[in-house]
């Protein structure tokens, strides 16, 4: 091969290689774009499905009602009772009920004073009294220990003697420490022959008690002033008769202790009990077992006097079940709801006498068939109900009546198609584009003798139903455990039920737009049988899900 041919060959080969490399680059760029363009990937018709356990919880009665106002009591046989109670409900105190009115007094008396030579004394005694007012008929005051009060006394006289003294003894007002009656002393000296001599004084009555039964009078509630005028002889003319005017008041009387006969007052106590067991009930029947419902009261009384309690109102109401209102008879039909309570004797002044009452003849079992939500009561405690004024009462200012009321609902009943409903706000603001379909599997292992059919509705803000969770006919997702016979009515085994809820894409979208969740459950005891709930009952709920992942999602 000559040099020219060889060079020509080399150039040809070089050109071929260059074209080949250029083609390679361009083709490869185009191929790369084709082979790796995500827009060209066709959505597959399959989705990986991942199974995940979500919830595994075991619930007892305490878990369902532990946060409510109910106390769950375990009875000696391990059955359970709900205790709805009112604790320490108090009546008004005696001080709040009994009022001692303000007292006003006014006396006028003329007296003669003979001429007395200098150096001679003469003493003149006068008595004044007025009836002490009370705020109730027949009240008898023996003694009242005061914790507040003001006594004001004012007087004038036209006696024209140089040296005169006036002593006013308030016979009912006794010093708590010394036992000496209250004494005022006023000088009535009139050397300048003034037309009137005036005197006045005000005292705080806190250190005194008022005694009405030791002043020698027979009339009740009499307040007595004893006046003594001591006159020294002088040369002044005798202008007898002279005038003595005394007036004043007693006000803001507060007592620590009262002795006597208090009379009749009303001490009222009213309240209501929320029975949340039936809060969410919208319909259905319940038949409580015999003696399942009982009512007890523990009443404390620190009033030292006879007290009778009358139930002005006592009834239960239901929002769901007719007749919606049932009056409660504590002692059986036709017997008034009236009873007396204990009172402390004088040796236990300041203490409370307890009265414990268990009402065993009530119609509460019957009343509970309406699935009541509330128990209302309005009790009135009346002092000295017999009106016997000879009875000796004692009352402290703080004396009152207290009430602890317990409504015990033993979980012993049969229920049938008992429908409860609840609505909760629902805001599942989640992006679930990644989810193609969802299967929710519910496993229940139930040791309660309760079966439940449940439906969950997803609604908009106006409660318009958008979708429901369960579409299959069988929505009995909890089967009741079988029940043994009387007297224990105890379950004999647990039951297991597995339910699947399929949520395709559209249903998931509906759920996402929902704003409210309406839960409705129909509850029945197993086969409608009577049963007792025991403390070892539980239900285990396991929720797992199979999530179909949308693999085309970003």
């Amino acid at each position: 091969m000559n040099k020219r041919k060889k060079h020509h060959l080399i150039r040809q080969i070089r050109t071929i290689i260059l074209i080949f490399l250029l083609s390679t680059v361009f083709v490869s760029c185009d191929k790369f774009k084709d082979d790796f363009d995500p827009d060209k990937v066709v959505v597959p018709d399959w989705n990986p499905e991942f199974a995940v356990p979500l919830i595994n919880s075991t619930f007892t009665i305490t878990d369902f009602f532990g946060d409510s106002n109910v106390y769950i009591k375990t009875n000696p046989d391990h059955s359970l009772s709900f205790i709805y109670g009112v604790d320490d409900l108090s009546s008004p105190t005696a001080e709040e009920v009994m009022n001692i009115p303000d007292q006003n007094f006014n006396f006028m008396q003329q007296y003669d004073v003979p001429s007395l030579p200098p150096g001679v004394l003469d003493t003149l005694n006068l008595d004044f009294e007025f009836p002490f007012l009370t705020d109730t008929t027949g009240q008898r005051l023996d003694s009242i220990f005061l914790k507040s009060g003001e006594l004001y006394i004012h007087g004038t006289t036209n006696l024209n003697r140089d040296t005169v003294s006036l002593r006013v003894t308030v016979a009912n007002m006794i010093d708590k420490e010394t036992g000496v009656p209250l004494l005022f002393e006023f000088p009535l000296n009139n050397p300048d022959q003034q037309e009137w001599v005036e005197f006045e004084q005000q005292i705080d009555m806190t250190k005194y008690y008022m005694a009405f039964n030791n002043i020698g009078t027979t009339a009740d509630n009499t307040f007595v002033f004893l006046i003594e005028i001591v006159i020294h002889g002088d040369e002044n003319p005798d202008l007898s008769p002279y005038d003595l005017n005394i007036d004043g008041y007693i006000k803001n009387i507060g007592f620590e202790r009262f002795f006597g006969y208090m009379g009749q007052y009303d001490f009222t106590m009213n309240d209501s009990l929320d029975i949340n067991l039936f809060d969410k009930t919208i319909s259905g029947g319940i038949q409580v077992g015999p003696g399942a419902i009982s009512l007890s009261m523990d009443i404390g009384n620190s009033l030292g006097l006879p007290v009778m309690i009358a139930a002005n109102e006592l009834y239960v109401t239901s929002e769901s079940t007719p007749p919606y209102h049932v009056d409660i008879n504590l002692f059986g039909a036709g017997v008034p709801n009236i009873f007396t309570i204990n009172a402390p004797d004088i040796s236990h002044i300041g203490e409370s006498a307890e009265t414990n009452l268990n009402f065993v003849n009530t119609n509460l079992d019957e009343a509970f068939n309406i699935s009541p939500n509330k128990l209302y009561f309005d009790l009135i405690a009346v002092s000295n109900p017999q009106g016997d004024t000879t009875v000796e009462n004692f009352v402290l200012d703080t004396s009152l009546i207290t009430l602890d009321m317990n409504l015990e609902v033993k979980l012993f009943a049969s229920i049938s198609d008992f429908v409860v409903e609840d609505t909760v706000d629902f805001d599942l603001d989640q992006n679930v584009d990644e989810i193609n379909n969802l299967l929710i599997r519910l496993n229940t292992i139930n040791r309660f003798p309760l079966a439940a059919s449940i439906q969950v509705y997803f609604t908009d803000a106006d409660y318009q139903v958008l979708d429901s969770l369960i579409v299959q006919q069988d929505n009995m997702i909890v089967e009741g455990a079988p029940i043994g016979g009387p007297p224990e009515y105890r379950v004999t085994d647990s039951t297991w039920k597995m339910t699947d809820f399929n949520l395709p894409k559209q249903k998931i979208q509906n759920i996402l737009t929902a704003e409210k969740l309406l839960l409705r459950a129909s509850l029945s005891t197993t086969d409608g049988q009577l049963c007792i709930i025991y403390d070892d009952y539980s239900i285990t709920i396991k929720i797992g899900t199979i999530v179909g992942v949308n693999i085309t999602s970003n």
């Binding site: 490399l21 919830i55 797992g544």
Partner: protein, 471 residues
């Protein structure tokens, strides 16, 4: 005539190099091809016994040698089915196509700086290079699990075992100091001593797990034997900071290469090398995740609602706490323990046959030892010397899973500037979806003192002799 030829060469080479750069993102390169372009001084990185044909060469910083590519046992069409203009992702197709173990290797190398010079029968070499290597192996069962999910009939009520899984990503900087001695006229021996500066690593020592999904309530029962080591300099939230990789990392290692080259006669030459024998000890930025008790079976049957409801709502803080504690339940603890990783060692053997003065046939057998498996390859090549300054080659490579990989490349000196581009399996450009192997390397060097000119003078009368050092 000679002048015209050189002008054309420059024009073509510049065009080719530009095109190569623009297509870089799609391609990669493998070490094998460096055997087939004798005028490249970079060939010394695949066998330290090779003495380049220049008294001095300097790599242009950062572009003297850039390499990237992948070497897998799966390909695009194993994942997608092409129908018309669409790509279908069919899980049964994927599972039918992939092997029991899906293996992959992705590598990236950028030479920061390189210099080499010859002193009589001695050759000295120094280079700094950024190296990143990722190997992974994924068991088929893992793919099946991801594609079907444990909620599928296949897994509900059955135990799935995940094994044959491993992952190793290593990013390190190599400081290599090399020396080659021409022992005789026929024998060269060389060595590279390397200081390795570890920058980042994620690697698995153990990666086994089993999972049972209860078919009724989906309770998960798992047993794990996991040890994952990480050393990552950039912190979560702060993002990548250049200082994270350009400062002293505290993760050090050493490695070495050895090689020999024997010239049997004017036609036959042989060489062999062992590369990257060494490891890196990772001391800084550590996090290890390991199973505390591999014999322990852990079950999770769902959250107890009671623990998550507070004031009528979900207590999200507590949910997060429990999710954290779930990993504790699985017994996977987090530690900060130093660990070692080997860098992938390889052995290569090369034979060359010169047919006349312008043609050479070569063969290379190589095997790379990765963490959990070895990766043998064999390739044949034809090299054409158009001039002493221009080499072009075509190659054919066989890997355990791929039997038709055609490669090509060139190297050319234009004055002191040397350009080169080699690609292995360029057929992937036409059928990328069928490619399991795609490698590319390119670069620019400055070369001075071509030794064949001296030889030419010595062997006056011979036309275009083959360079003895690379023959």
């Amino acid at each position: 005539m000679k002048i015209i030829r050189h002008n054309n060469s420059k024009k073509y080479l510049i065009i080719l190099f530009t095109l190569a750069l623009t297509s870089f993102s799609a391609y990669g390169q493998l070490e094998r091809s460096l055997f087939y372009l004798p005028i490249l001084p970079n060939a010394r990185t695949v066998n330290p016994a090779i003495i380049p044909s220049y008294k001095l060469y300097v790599g242009i910083p950062f572009v003297s040698s850039v390499k990237t590519g992948f070497d897998n046992n799966f390909k695009h069409e194993d994942l997608f089915i092409k129908k018309g203009d669409s790509l279908y992702l069919d899980r049964d197709h994927i599972l039918n196509r992939i092997d029991d173990e899906t293996k992959g290797n992705i590598n990236l190398m950028d030479e920061v700086f390189a210099v080499g010079f010859k002193l009589k029968k001695n050759y000295f070499h120094f280079r700094i290079a950024e190296m990143m290597n990722t190997n992974f192996s994924i068991g088929k069962e893992f793919f099946r699990f991801v594609l079907y999910g444990n909620g599928s009939d296949h897994y509900l009520g059955n135990t799935v075992t995940f094994d044959k899984n491993s992952f190793n990503l290593t990013y390190y900087r190599e400081y290599s100091l090399g020396y080659t001695r021409q022992i005789t006229d026929k024998l060269n021996l060389g060595v590279n001593l390397k200081y390795l500066q570890g920058i980042a690593n994620i690697s698995t020592e153990d990666m086994e797990a089993s999972l049972y999904t209860d078919p009724n309530d989906f309770t998960l029962s798992a047993q794990t034997n996991i040890r994952i080591n990480t050393s990552i300099p950039w912190k979560k939230g702060s993002g990548f900071q250049p200082a994270d990789v350009f400062t002293v990392t505290g993760n050090s290692g050493f490695a070495f290469d050895i090689g020999g080259q024997y010239l049997l006669n004017n036609k036959w030459s042989f060489s062999a090398s062992v590369l990257d024998l060494g490891n890196i000890k990772w001391n800084n930025n550590l996090k290890n995740f390991k199973t505390k008790d591999p014999d322990k079976m852990v079950s999770f049957s769902g959250f107890d609602l009671d623990d998550f409801l507070e004031d009528g709502g979900l207590d999200r803080d507590h949910i997060n706490d429990v999710l954290d504690s779930l990993s504790n339940e699985l017994g996977i603890v987090e530690t900060e323990e130093s660990y070692n990783t080997k860098i992938p060692t390889s052995i290569t053997a090369n034979a060359n046959y010169n047919l006349g003065t312008n043609n050479r046939f070569s063969g290379v057998f190589g095997i790379q030892f990765l963490e959990d498996w070895s990766w043998p390859t064999f390739s044949l090549a034809y090299t054409r010397y158009f001039t002493r300054d221009v080499n072009m080659m075509l190659s054919y490579t066989v890997t355990p899973n791929s039997f038709f990989n055609l490669g090509g490349g060139f190297a050319a000196n234009i004055g002191p500037a040397q350009f080169y581009l080699v690609a292995e399996n360029f057929m992937a450009s036409f059928a990328l979806s069928k490619a399991e192997l795609l490698q590319i390397r390119f670069g620019i060097n400055l070369v001075f003192g071509k030794t064949w000119k001296k030889e030419k003078k010595k062997k006056k009368g011979e036309e275009k002799p083959v360079d003895e050092n690379n023959s």
